[in-house]
Amino acid sequence: MSEHIVIVGGGTGGTVLANDLADRLEAERDAGDVRVTLVNDGPEHVYKPVWLYVPFGQREPADGRRALTDLVDDAIDLRIDRVVGLDTEAQELRFSGSEQPVEYDHLVLATGSTLEPDRIPGLEEGGHDYYSESGAIDLREELLEFSRGDLVLSVVGTPHMCPAAPLEFVFMTDDWLRERGLREAVTITYTYPIQRVHGNPHIAEWARPIMEDRGIQVETFFNAEAVDPEAETITSMEGTELDYDLLVTIPPHGGVDLIEEAGLGDGGWVDVDKHTLEAEAAENVYALGDTADTGVPNAGSVAHYQAGVVGQRLASEIRGRPATATYDGKTLCFVETGMDAASFVEFDYETPPSPAPPSEKLHWSKLAYNESYWLTARGLL
């Protein structure tokens, strides 16, 4: 009897895993022992790191989109549909496009993060972002016209996608304005919810002196409570009010409702064993990427590495062997420190990050990887 693996979500984790399984389980597929379905609610794969460069006019949104049919191995059943119900007891999924439930033997949830700006009054009207394609395009219009005043970058909630991106944005903005002779007419203020400038203390310790050197003002313990688009102010739960002329925020994030409704975890994040990535509340369910509540950053590199682990574990299970592959927390990030310099960090559950000295070489390495990413999505890199 053929076993059915269903992957929900065609982002980095889901797409890498689908291609990994197409390769790894080739013999089992040919023998009719297993089939793999990848479900996504749209026909395109989106590479979100491109959006950081859109406001500065360096990349176009289309650079971050490719058709899933161009990326996913033909051996995978690609279903463009939305999952609207999950019964982990019956091992069934329901779809918006069909009444007929679909059974699975192994389920992988890779549904990722969604933006929830409406959790903060006034944020949607008053704030801009580069965490969505439309947000990045709108911010580009604002930033290109912005020549003087107060720019505030506010990290509203954590966890959020790509924890380095808020630092990257203020470093890039600072450099970009300097290159254009506008920096002295602009104040840049960076706010963060806890008492340091980044969740990871080692990265915070590295970034803070750079911010001081570059004249980037910092407000810590700033948890945005409301934005007043008319008065152009943002206020925090801690009682601080900041004026802005241009407000850029990292909006609150959440997972999909399906996960909480299925009893797999709060807020749309699946409670998992952080090494095996197995869901704690259900059998035969894995989660990876942002969806897996492991405590590591919500980053593409994490989803990529976790996809390899889940691919190995699923292959072992299909072959009736004990699954031994585990995720060690490996995370890898390039961190832009300007328009032509970047740092690099690599860490895991046991080893803290030690940011590399910023260099032009690392900046070009980041841009080169962003181009090579499409090989990662295809399962080749």
Binding site: G157, Q195, P201, F221, N223, G239
Partner: protein, 78 residues
């Protein structure tokens, strides 16, 4: 043991720093003035994070219980 009765409990045991503090702040967003939130955390950093944030935000840290493998923080929304 404290006899404080919390209005809500946030169990952040197992979460890495700054998860427990962010979970507490998340609970405060929906809490009413006067509510007491109990945070359970097994991250040592919470012993400094939570009092610092409560002080900064003008909330009141009523008690900290240091139990076998975690701490319980009782914070009142002012």
């Amino acid at each position: 043991m404290t006899d404080i009765q919390p209005d809500d409990t946030v169990d952040a045991r197992g979460a890495a720093c700054p998860g427990p503090l962010m979970d507490l702040i998340g609970a405060f967003r929906s809490a009413e003035s006067g509510d007491v939130i109990r945070l359970l955390s097994d991250t040592e950093q919470s012993l400094t994070d939570v009092p610092e944030w409560a002080d900064e935000a003008g909330n009141e840290l009523l008690a900290v219980e240091e139990l076998d493998d975690h701490s319980a923080f009782y914070v009142k929304k002012v």
